[in-house]
């Protein structure tokens, strides 16, 4: 089984360890991973800001890079959404490109989705003695309809107690440019998310979206010292029993 | 170009898309209720809105219930849709001491009707339908049934025959609007008393319409 890794820009630059952990998890499952060094960003920031022509250029680059892969996996839900749903929309006036985009859309997966739905694995052999909870990132949950998969992977971790997070499906206030352009509103949202995390009593807040992680962990670092948010891939990779 | 033509032309010149096929109509589980279940559901739903359902075995029993409500609520003046509602002798109430009743037919013009309806302690009306789904009354307004009787007075007492009790709105609407030449000028669904929560989300009854609603259902 061969998987092409799509490591989005936030991970590549800001949190490369999530990419490493993604690679570790897949390798441990016997998957051959490959990484195209020509990859950059999916163009979501440009698309969301309204720069569709520029985003289109990036989309075509992405399709050129990943177009021939059987299977593309990424540890970022919103970027998968961008490729899966917005590329075909963006390229609607260019039938040949749109066809390539639609074709690729059927071959791209979010990491937890790929592990649980395609590889049919829920137990990765990790152990963790502590309480965790899970933030349902907007694009993972409502964009890709992924919710059960990460929870199954968490349930597969030995010794871990899952506790409920109040308003777990509420947005954390990231929204890319939103967090920078509307900081006060964004703050009110991430404050609530962090407060609910603290209230849950969990040791670690898990999530599957690098953007949310950047936002929540940045807020926790300033306001709730000692509270940790982690990408699910990192949590799993860190706690896999060393053989 | 007049507004009508301009608007319609603009709408018609817009790009057309093909109609999408409707998914199947959602199943209404209420349709399987039997009469007993319907009565129970009606009372439960109405009660949830602070309305009260009385089941009367026959018109005579209904009259007794009505008298009891009148006494308990201390009501003195009424406007009623008719002297006889579902066989209940409303006119006989007027014989009791200190109580005044007037009837829809007594009012030939808007002014006298408004005067009486806004002054009355209660409106006593028929209801053409009852809907179990939500404890709702269905009322056809016409010259025998002025609109104000059930909305202007602070208490509304409705008398309805159990044979007019249906599971869902559809049953009623199909009948009322079947023949477009015979539609009433107004048909209303009434569910419990008037209510508001507009200040601080605090709910209270009787904002502009009745504070209390009583439904007497004749079971014979």
């Amino acid at each position: 089984m061969k998987v092409s890794l799509f490591i989005p820009c936030t991970v590549d630059i800001m949190m490369p360890e999530i990419g490493v952990d993604t690679n570790t998890l897949l390798s441990n499952l016997g998957v051959q991973t490959l990484y195209h060094k020509e990859q950059t960003c999916c163009g979501q920031p440009l698309f969301n800001a309204g720069y569709r022509d520029h985003a289109k250029r990036v989309a075509k680059h992405f399709i050129e890079v990943f177009g021939e892969d059987d299977c593309v996996v990424s540890p970022a839900g919103s970027c998968v959404c961008m490729v899966k749903y917005h590329y075909p929309e963006l390229l609607e006036n260019e039938p040949i490109w749109q066809k390539r985009a639609l074709d690729l859309a059927g071959r791209i997966y979010e990491l937890s989705q790929y592990i649980v739905d395609v590889l049919k694995v829920t137990n990765l052999g990790a152990t963790f003695a502590g309480k965790v909870t899970y933030h349902e990132s907007c694009h993972i949950l409502r964009g890709l309809n992924i919710s059960a998969q990460p929870k199954k992977l968490i349930a597969g971790v030995e010794g871990t107690q899952f506790v409920e997070l109040e308003s777990s499906t509420a947005c954390c206030g990231f929204g890319g440019e939103f967090a920078v352009a509307y900081p006060e509103i964004s703050e009110a949202m991430v404050r609530e998310k962090a407060a609910n995390f603290v209230k849950s009593g969990a040791d670690v807040l898990l999530l599957c979206e690098p953007g949310c992680l950047l936002n929540i962990s940045g807020y926790l670092h300033r306001n709730h010292t000692g509270k940790t948010a982690l990408h699910l891939a990192s949590f799993l990779a860190q706690n896999i029993k060393k053989v | 170009m007049d507004a009508r033509q301009a608007i319609l032309e603009k709408l018609k010149s817009a790009m057309r898309v093909e109609s999408i096929k409707r998914p199947p109509k959602p199943v209404l589980s209420e349709l399987s209720m039997n009469r007993e279940q319907m009565v129970q559901r009606f009372g439960q739903e109405l009660g949830g809105r602070t309305g009260v359902l009385y089941q009367a075995a026959n018109p005579q029993a209904a009259l007794r219930v009505l008298s009891d409500i009148i006494k308990a609520e201390g009501l003195k003046s009424f406007v009623a849709t008719a002297q006889d509602i579902c066989g209940v002798d409303i006119a006989s109430l007027g014989e009791a001491d200190g109580i005044s009743v007037s009837f829809a037919k007594d009012f030939t013009d808007r002014e006298t009707l408004r005067e009486a309806a806004f002054k009355a302690d209660a409106g006593i009306t028929s209801a053409d339908f009852a809907v179990a789904e939500t404890g709702t009354l269905g009322v056809i307004f016409n010259h025998n049934h002025p609109r104000l009787l059930s909305i202007a007075p602070p208490v509304h007492i409705a008398i309805v025959d159990v044979k007019d009790l249906y599971p869902v709105y559809e049953n009623v609407v199909e009948t009322v609007f079947k023949n477009t030449n015979e539609m009433p000028s107004q048909f209303s669904f009434i569910t419990g008393p008037s209510a508001t929560s507009d200040i601080q989300g605090v709910e209270f009854k009787g904002m502009h319409g009745p504070k209390k609603v009583f439904v007497i259902m004749i079971m014979s």
Partner: protein
Amino acid sequence: MHPHANKFMETARKELKNEQSQMFLLMVSLGAPILRQIGMSTFADIAAAEAYSRAIRADVITRLPELLEAFEKNAVSNGAKVLWAKDAAEANHIILDIANQRGVSYVMKGKSMITEEIGLNDHLIKNGVDVFETDLGEVITQNLKLHPFHLVGPAINVPPSEISEAFLKKGIIDEASTDPVKLGGGARKYLRDKFRNLQMGIVGVNMGVAETGTIINVENEGNIRLIKSSPKTLVAIMSLEKVVPNMADAVSMIRMLTRNCTGQKITSYVSMDSGPQKCDEQDGPEELFIIILDNGRSEIYSDLKTREILKCIRCGACLNTCPVYTKIGGYPYGATYCGPIGQTLTPMLAGMENTSDLYRACTLCGMCKQICPAGIDHPSLLLSYRARQIELKNQKGKKTMQSRGENAIAGLIALGMSHGWLWSLGINLTRPLMNSMAKDGYIGNIPMGAQGWFVCRDLRAIPKKTFHETWDDLPSRPESSGNTSKKEDS
């Protein structure tokens, strides 16, 4: 409508600090979805019910012109007078004319977003016809001169003490009170004589039924039923998207409307009028005017994408789940419509230029789309507005220094994103600059650029190596050492 959406953030900041507003927003965000869920649980299959109401609204906008013509024909044959108005000015003029011709000194109004949208009250009052709002929430907003805080509860946030003060001044109550029941009771008493002597009433319309020419109003207070019963003259004003094909569809939509609006299975009153009173009736209007208002909607309809906005049934469910609305309330949106529906509708009604905060202040979380019983994809609409704005800014002759600069930066980013080596170069140039501001591995602020980020959060210092640069150092898979596939493309 008086859009002042350019003050979006200014107002939002105030509201974020307003304890009263925050308390009610918390109540709305926690309570409303629960009430809705309880209401929806009466459906045997909630998803099927949602799919069906969405299909009805999709059907309506597909057949809009035909349905409107059928509605008109049938309403006229019921005896109603149907008038069309292109814009706010025309509608206001028609209504003032009707009032003047009948010599009425005042009118009473049922809750209606559309009359707020066209600024009817101001127009009538300016021309000597007094207007009494009758919905308790609107009695309050009218007397305190407030925009709606919420689509459904326009004054739900206003402290009773402020209501009391305004009501005292207006003579609605005789003595001060902070009891909502007493304040409401005062309004009831104050308006009762006016209802009794009313000569002309004005209501909005929740649905106009094409097949029967019927207008339907959904309400709890009974003010609309009084307005539809007491006066000789009734004016119903309906924006042109409110039409539904037939009574069966109307009933299906009513079920969804009330559940999504207040969580109720049904409101206290649903009144359905097919024409004016019949000649032997003692009450009900002798003449019923139905005004069909365009006010920019046919233009919205002309675009396949924006057409979707016309599916809206004004239930307000999107407000209650919106993470932005539930933090800032209705005032920052600066217009009749707030929350996600305001964000999609107002830019179309008031223009894109001064409303950019409305389509940009959104995280695209998708809550609104998920809950919408009419099937509107708000995030997708907002994204299309953003694209439209950028297009407009970069049109020939419209370019400014700023738009040129922004576009150049976006272009540069796109260029970098389209070339792997350029991308890496950019990162390697930026990293030392960013990290020079880091302390203990975190950046707390930067002198320029994305400072909004640092208002409430830190940013981890940028790691020494990107994933890209790490890849070659990664160990090969243990169970297939020597396998080259991992690096075959590097």
